[in-house]
Amino acid sequence: MALDTAAWSSPWRHRSVADKAVLTLALLATTLLLPVWPTAALSAAAALIVLLGPARLAPTVLARSLRSPLLFIVLGAASVLVSVSWHDGPRVAITAQTSTQALTVLGRGVAGTLCVFVLAATTPMVDLLAGLRRARVPEACVEVASLVYRLLFVLLDTTRRIREAQAARLGLRDRRTTLRSAGTLSGTLLVRAWGRARRLEEGLAGRGYTGALPSLDPPGRVSIGFLGATVALVGVIVVVSLLGAGPR
C-alpha cells in the first residue's frame, strides 16, 4: 500500500481529482493510441518527471511499486517474443516481427503503468470515490466501495496478526500445515468481517445511519493553469511523436 500512503501525504493531494485524472488519462491515451516509439518513452519520461518532481514521490516507493507489474510485463513480453508452432513438429523461434511486438508491449506496459502512478500516488482513494460520486456513479456503489476501503485496513491488520499467531505455533511449518492455516485464516477472517460489519452498522445507526452514507466532500476546484500545463505537455508529446515516427 506504499502508493496509497504516498497519496495521503502528496503535495498534490488537494489538487482537484479532475485535474489529476485528466493528466493521467491524457498521458495514457497518447501512450496507447500513438506509435509506440518514441511515444512510450516520452510519456514514461513525462510521468517520471511529474512523479519525482512536483508530486515528490520517493524513488524507493516508486521502485518498489513497479516490481510486481514489471514481473507481469516482462513475463508477458517474453511470451510474445517467442513464437511457437507445431505444424511439422514443435518449433520455437524468435522473429523480427515477434521482437518488435515484444518491445511494443514492454514499452507500453511500462509507460502505461507509470501514467497510472500519476493518479495513484497523488490521489487517496476517498478523493477518487468522491470524484466518482460527482461523476454520477450510483451512490450505493460509491458507498460500498468507500466502506471496502476502510474495512480493508482493519481486515489486513487482523490478517497479519492471525498469521503471526499461526506462525508462532508453527502453523506455517510445511505445506500441509500452511494449507490448513490458510483455511482457518480465511474462515476466521470471514467470520470476523461479518461481525465487524454488524457492529459497525450498529455504531453508525447511533449516528443516524439509515442506509445512506452522506459525505462531506471538499469542493474540487479545477485549476485552469494545471489543465493548461497538461494540454501543453501532452501536446508536445503528440507533436514530437508524430514528427519522430513520421519518416518511417
Binding site: P124, S146, Y149, R150, F153, G203, P214, L216
Partner: protein
C-alpha cells in the same frame, strides 16, 4: 445543550434465551457523572446499548427526561440527538477513510446545512484537542487517537447525554488523564456523562454516583459508600478502590467503610497528614499541659 436525565426502568433483556438484564433500574440525573461498574459479561455493554436505543429491551423502558423512548424511526431519530453511545473498539464506529468525513457523518444525517456541519465538526475536534488530525487517514491513527475521533463523531450530534464504554481501556496513563480532561470539558459544556469501566479507582475519583451491575440487576449509590462495600465488591467481581482499602487498613475511618471525603491520593494524603498533625498536636498539648 441542556441537562436531561436518563432512566432505565425495569429493563429486561435476554440473548438466545439467556437473561442478561433482569429488571434493571438505573437513574442518571442531568449533570451527574455516573460510573457503571461490573464484571466481564455482567451486562454493562448490553445496558449501554439499551440506553442508547440500539437494542430494544424485552420488557421495561428507557426514559429521557421522564419521556419514554419509542423504538419507531422518528422516536429513535429524536433519541439519538439526545443520547450518544461511544463503543469500546473505535473501529466499530469509524467507517470513513479520513477523520473530517467521519465526524461529519452524524451532522450530515441530521440534514444540517453544510456550514453548520463544518462548524460542528470543527467544534468537536477542538473540544477533544485533535484539530490537527482533521485531514489524516483513519487507518494511520494510533489507538488513542482513534478513540478520540470516535468520541468526536458522537459529540458532533450535540447529545445531552454521552455514554462511553470503557473510554480509558487500552490507553497509557497519560492518555487516561487526557481522556478525563476531555470528559470534564464535555461536562462543562453541559453534557451528562456516563462511563462503563473496570477501573474502580477511577470511578471513585471521577464520578458523582456509581452503579454496579451484578446478576442482572443494578445497584446505584454514592461512590464511596458503594465502592467501599466489601461484600458487594466480592459479589460483583470488583475490588475496593485502594484509597478506601488503605484508609480502612489504617483505621482512619473508625469502622465506617467509606471514609468521608476521601476519593483520591490527594485527599487521602491530607487525611493521613491531619491525623499525624492532630497526634503530634495532642502530644504537644499534653506535653505543654504537664
Amino acid at each position: 445543550m441542556s441537562h436531561l436525565s436518563l432512566e432505565a426502568s425495569q429493563v429486561v433483556m435476554s440473548f438466545a434465551g439467556r437473561p442478561v438484564l433482569d429488571g434493571v433500574c438505573l437513574s442518571v440525573p442531568g449533570g451527574s457523572r455516573t460510573a457503571l461498574l461490573g464484571a466481564n459479561g455482567s451486562g454493562k455493554t448490553t445496558l449501554l446499548r439499551v440506553l442508547s436505543g440500539a437494542l430494544r429491551p424485552d420488557a421495561g423502558e428507557v426514559l429521557v427526561d421522564r419521556a419514554p423512548l419509542r423504538h419507531s424511526r422518528s422516536g429513535l431519530t429524536q433519541h439519538r440527538q439526545q443520547v450518544q453511545l461511544v463503543v469500546q473498539d473505535p473501529d466499530d464506529q469509524l467507517f470513513s477513510a479520513d477523520v473530517r468525513r467521519d465526524v461529519a457523518f452524524g451532522p450530515l444525517n441530521l440534514r444540517l446545512p453544510e456550514a453548520e456541519v463544518i462548524e460542528r465538526v470543527d467544534e468537536s475536534l477542538e473540544l477533544l484537542g485533535i484539530t490537527d488530525l482533521a485531514g489524516r487517514p483513519t487507518h494511520e491513527l494510533s489507538f488513542g487517537q482513534r478513540k478520540r475521533v470516535a468520541i468526536a463523531g458522537a459529540l458532533a450530534m450535540r447529545p445531552c447525554l454521552l455514554l462511553l464504554d470503557e473510554p480509558t481501556a487500552g490507553l497509557d496513563p497519560e492518555g487516561v488523564d487526557e481522556m478525563l480532561v476531555a470528559l470534564t470539558r464535555l461536562e462543562e459544556q453541559g453534557a451528562t456523562v456516563l462511563i462503563a469501566t473496570h477501573d474502580v479507582d477511577l470511578a471513585l475519583a471521577w464520578s458523582t454516583q456509581v452503579a454496579v451491575v451484578t446478576r442482572g440487576r443494578v445497584l446505584q449509590g454514592e461512590p464511596a459508600a458503594l465502592l467501599g462495600d466489601a461484600d458487594l465488591a466480592t459479589r460483583a467481581r470488583l475490588r475496593r478502590p485502594w484509597v478506601l482499602e488503605l484508609g480502612d487498613r489504617l483505621g482512619l475511618a473508625d469502622g465506617d467503610p467509606a471514609l468521608t471525603g476521601v476519593r483520591d491520593l490527594d485527599s487521602l494524603a491530607a487525611v493521613i497528614d491531619r491525623e499525624r498533625l492532630s497526634a503530634s498536636g495532642s502530644r504537644a498539648a499534653r506535653e505543654e499541659g504537664r
